[in-house]
């Protein structure tokens, strides 16, 4: 699979989690693609943590408004019924449990639902931005990422990078499968039929519990 195929599989699968009327925050990078796969008939409101809900697609060339960007500083538009607010309201929405879903990438995630995605000590310290609040406050936290990073394992027994939040992740979606964080560990609920269980486990440090009713992932 090429990178675009991988990303499409993941984004499409994440989008299937949303219900009509949900409020969702999509992180920068791969999670942003999820917006392209929201099923017909499901109305999802997107939040941009720099201060609005009702985010729409990128504007046509020449129609950019310098005051209307997403949290990655890219030009966007808003849909009818959008609302703008200051950063304190934006993070009241996030921390106060008003977001149905936050979708983010990860450097590491583990079987206890711990997430690390904001720094690599001594190497790269971009900062947490809004990620810690998003992961702490959203009703459901979905990690959307490639299963490994150029071969190195990201789904751990226990994260060894500094955490973004402790025990907050609910679901992990990769190109190999869909894993739910349960008190017993990671429950593999769906798998990409292109991979065997053994292949998936081999790319995963945490022991995967295979769901009795495991399904094929839609790819």
């Amino acid at each position: 699979m090429d990178t675009n195929q991988i990303k499409a599989i993941i984004a499409k699968r994440v989008a299937m989690e949303f219900k009509d009327g949900n409020l969702v925050n999509l992180g920068i990078g791969l999670p942003t693609l999820v917006a392209n796969y929201i099923p017909e008939g499901v109305e999802v409101t997107l939040q941009s943590e720099n201060g609005f809900i009702g985010m729409g697609p990128a504007p046509e060339a020449g129609k950019e408004d310098p005051d209307l960007v997403n949290a990655g500083a890219q030009y966007v538009t808003v849909n009818p019924g959008a609302a703008f607010f200051d950063s304190s309201i934006s993070f009241s929405i996030i921390r106060g449990g008003h977001l149905d879903f936050t979708v983010l990438g990860a450097l590491q995630v583990d079987e206890k639902g711990n997430l690390a995605n904001w720094m690599i000590p001594g190497k790269k310290v971009p900062g947490m931005g809004g990620a810690m609040d998003l992961v702490t406050g959203a009703k459901k936290v979905i990690v959307a990422m490639t299963h490994t990073a150029k071969g190195s394992i990201k789904i751990m027994k226990e994260c060894n990078l500094p955490l973004t939040a402790k025990g907050q992740v609910d679901l992990i979606v990769t190109e190999m499968g869909v894993m739910e964080v349960t008190p017993k560990g990671l429950l593999l609920k769906e798998k990409n039929p292109q991979f065997t269980l053994e292949e998936i486990q081999k790319q995963t440090e945490a022991r995967l519990i295979v769901a009795e009713d495991i399904k094929d992932m839609e790819i």
Binding site: V69, R95, K124, P126, M128, G129, T136, G167
Partner: protein, 217 residues
């Protein structure tokens, strides 16, 4: 009570070593002329409070690029490589704070609160060396208020009394910072007569604003 000043008059009020807050999110909603003025004058040794350190060539990101910042309270430096470089070399101290905490710390200073009780950062390095308290069985970090000597803000419309109206995503931290600094300077895209902003739609009431300068948009 004439609050309208020139950029140069406003810059005269900003001294090296001061703590400055700058409104904006990756430079969107930030004052342009005031920042360029700081750089022209080389006003340095600043402590900067801003959501991020923007990009090297955009707005307050240029303060870092020009080595005018000795310490920064921020949530994100990843878009400005110079910030990471100066952090690692020790030239600039970087206090990284979750974005929602940073905005509440600024709000707490303006609102006379003793701090913020947030669950964000519990179980992470963010809680290290900080007071924590338990409320109804759940733990929260006590994060202190954050105030500044000067706030440099950008408004879309500002009336001659100092009432401010912000535009779209350029609002962000601006109204919070307007309450949390001793001296509040707003760079206005447009300066309008009193009454041209509906009293019900004012986003920063004039009593928070000390100085209004005209921007070049």
């Amino acid at each position: 009570m004439n609050k309208l000043k020139t950029i140069q008059e406003a810059l005269d009020m900003i001294k090296p070593g001061m703590t400055i807050m700058v409104g904006g999110f990756l430079g969107v909603g930030s004052p342009e002329l005031l920042i360029d003025g700081l750089i022209q004058r080389g006003i340095g040794e600043l402590t900067l409070i801003a959501n991020d350190t923007s990009f090297p060539d955009v707005n307050y990101g240029k303060l870092v690029q020009n080595k005018l910042v000795k310490k920064v309270y921020t949530s994100h430096i990843g878009t400005n490589p110079e910030s990471g470089f100066q952090m690692h070399s020790g030239e600039m101290e970087v206090i990284l704070t979750p974005q929602g905490t940073l905005v509440e710390q600024i709000r707490a200073a303006g609102a006379g609160l003793g701090g913020v009780l947030t669950p964000t950062g519990i179980g992470t390095v963010v809680e290290e060396n900080k007071q924590k308290i338990e409320v109804d069985g759940k733990f929260y970090i006590v994060e202190k208020p954050l105030k500044a000597d000067v706030a440099l803000l950008r408004g879309a419309k500002v009336d001659q009394k100092g009432n401010v109206y912000y535009n779209l995503a350029a609002r962000n931290f601006n109204p919070l910072m307007a309450m949390a600094a001793d001296l509040v300077i707003v760079e206005a895209d447009e300066i309008v007569e009193v009454g041209q902003i509906n009293a019900n739609d004012v986003m920063t009431p004039h009593i928070f604003v000390d100085v209004v300068v005209k921007g070049d948009r």
